[in-house]
């Protein structure tokens, strides 16, 4: 059974600081997704990572995938309040998506 673990589950960070969210998964896969969810809203696709060593960047967010370590990271650079949300990673191995528990990020002044 595929398990997806995220940490931390809660993250409070100051504006302007950097931090990394980690996503570990238990079974080999080369497809990993990051989603953002605002309270009461749907899931917004942020990144699709398709192969070992994939790195994608959008604004202050950068995601990477290491399939050998079964690890993906979401790095936040110089956080701003607008990034406050819950971030989910999700993995699939020819099955429907299996999500992590999410990281609730709060960016404070």
């Amino acid at each position: 059974e595929l398990k997806v673990e995220q940490n931390p589950l809660f993250l409070s960070m100051q504006e302007g600081k950097n931090y990394t969210i980690y996503c570990n998964y238990s079974t080999t896969s080369d497809r990993l997704y990051w989603y953002r969810q605002d309270p009461g809203k749907s899931l917004e696709s942020l990144f699709v990572l398709l192969s070992n060593g994939a790195v994608k960047q959008e604004g202050r967010l950068m995601a990477s995938l290491d399939t050998k370590a079964r690890l993906s990271t979401l790095h936040i650079t110089a956080a701003v309040h607008d990034l406050s949300a819950t971030y989910f990673c999700a993995v699939d191995i020819n099955t429907p998506l299996v999500f992590g528990k999410g990281t609730r990020l709060s960016v404070i002044a």
């Binding site: 749907s42 899931l43 696709s45 699709v48 099955t95 299996v98």
Partner: protein
């Protein structure tokens, strides 16, 4: 840009009642999914649907649940006799292709969700 739509946005029902949640997937997509998210928890897979039949389902998707594609555009989730623990946000998603195709085609696009409250 094409998007997945869902109705209603919020449904309140009494325990034991039947509910039908509706979704209109993106028009050229072939795979359809239902997920649910209990408040404050992670998103969980319920069922996937392809070629007018269920392709996979989770343990959550028991005999109380059913899915249907009644016409060329709608995809529905029915809960026959709702329980308090069915209260959750239900998300519909669709993707163009599924297994054994280029990975980009796997990307699932999520609808805005239906918040189901069972009282």
């Amino acid at each position: 840009e094409p998007e997945v739509t869902q109705t209603p946005s919020h449904q309140v029902t009494q325990m034991g009642q039947e509910v039908i949640l509706r979704c209109v997937p993106i028009s050229n997509h072939l795979y359809f999914y239902w997920y649910r998210q209990i408040l404050g928890q992670k998103v969980e897979f319920l069922v996937s649907f392809y070629n007018n039949e269920i392709s996979e389902k989770s343990e959550i998707f028991d005999d109380q649940f059913s899915v249907e594609r009644p016409d060329g555009s709608n995809f529905t989730l029915k809960i026959r006799s709702t329980k308090l623990e069915d209260s959750a946000m239900y998300f519909c998603a669709s993707s163009y292709l599924g297994r054994d195709y280029r990975a980009l085609s796997y990307e699932q696009y999520f609808g805005p969700g239906t918040r189901l409250t069972v009282t």
